[in-house]
Symmetry: C2
Subunit: 156 residues, 2 copies
């Protein structure tokens, strides 16, 4: 199923001559990995960043430290800024971000393991979805990438 | 086998309190993905970048355009700069880079599909290895990540 979505994204991006840039945290580069898996992906994939630490989020994506402190690195606000800023940085048509708690540690009282925010920024619109994904670390990481692909697929 | 190497890298990085940053091209984020797969990896993994386009290599990793033009994006010179500069940018103890031709297109007269340069930069030393990896796109991508992990494993 994911392969079909990926093939369709590939086809649509090439056909419409659109480009993407990716900012990941908990998914660790897996979204970039999938989006570069098909031959010809260099036509649309510009940049992926895995801003795993807060410092990287600040330095590479210009997320203000106070935004991270106020809302947390796993938050709607940070997800949106990650998507917007990776898009801005690269000039890509679409900026996609994933930030979440893959576990087993990192949960807070309000954000359990499996809390994942996924944002998609384009020229005129920015979307952000919250997911509460079941399962263990690797399952959560995989599922978050699947949801990001679905979000992109729906918006191209 | 790769899982054992990864587990050992994880253990060694935690034990020695060393950090890593990754700059990938043809491997598309897979090295970052593996290096963030184990719980606790946020203690050592600072940043991954997938600088797929030449513009990204220039903009994110400060690789001079003339170096890319002169030697090619898949070259010892670019691999070394990717590793050194991602290390410098993050302050990580180790900077690792992968740049290669995963195919099926992209080969030149002197660089066949499967040509992969992997570099590892640390405080006092920078290594770069050239590989000619057999197989198709996905195999070459997977093998390049395996070789990068082996190189890191040997140097921690």
């Amino acid at each position: 199923m994911l392969n079909k979505i990926l093939a369709s994204i590939h086809h649509q991006l090439l056909k419409k001559e659109k480009t993407v840039a990716v900012a990941e945290s908990c998914s660790g580069g897996q979204l970039s990995n999938l989006l570069t898996s098909l031959p010809g992906s260099s036509n649309y994939f510009i940049l992926g960043v895995v801003t795993y630490s807060n410092e990287s989020k600040q330095k590479i994506l210009n997320i203000p430290a106070k935004t991270i402190t106020k809302y947390g690195a796993v938050s709607r606000q940070v997800a949106i800024l990650m998507a917007k800023n990776v898009r801005k940085k690269t000039g890509a048509d679409f900026g996609i971000s994933i930030t979440g708690i893959a576990g087993p540690t990192g949960a807070t009282t309000t954000k359990p393991v499996g809390t994942v925010f996924i944002a998609l920024a384009s020229k005129n619109k920015t979307l952000c979805r919250l997911f509460l994904l079941p399962g263990q670390r690797e399952v959560i990481r995989n599922k978050s990438v699947g949801e990001a692909l679905r979000l992109l697929y729906a918006q191209i």
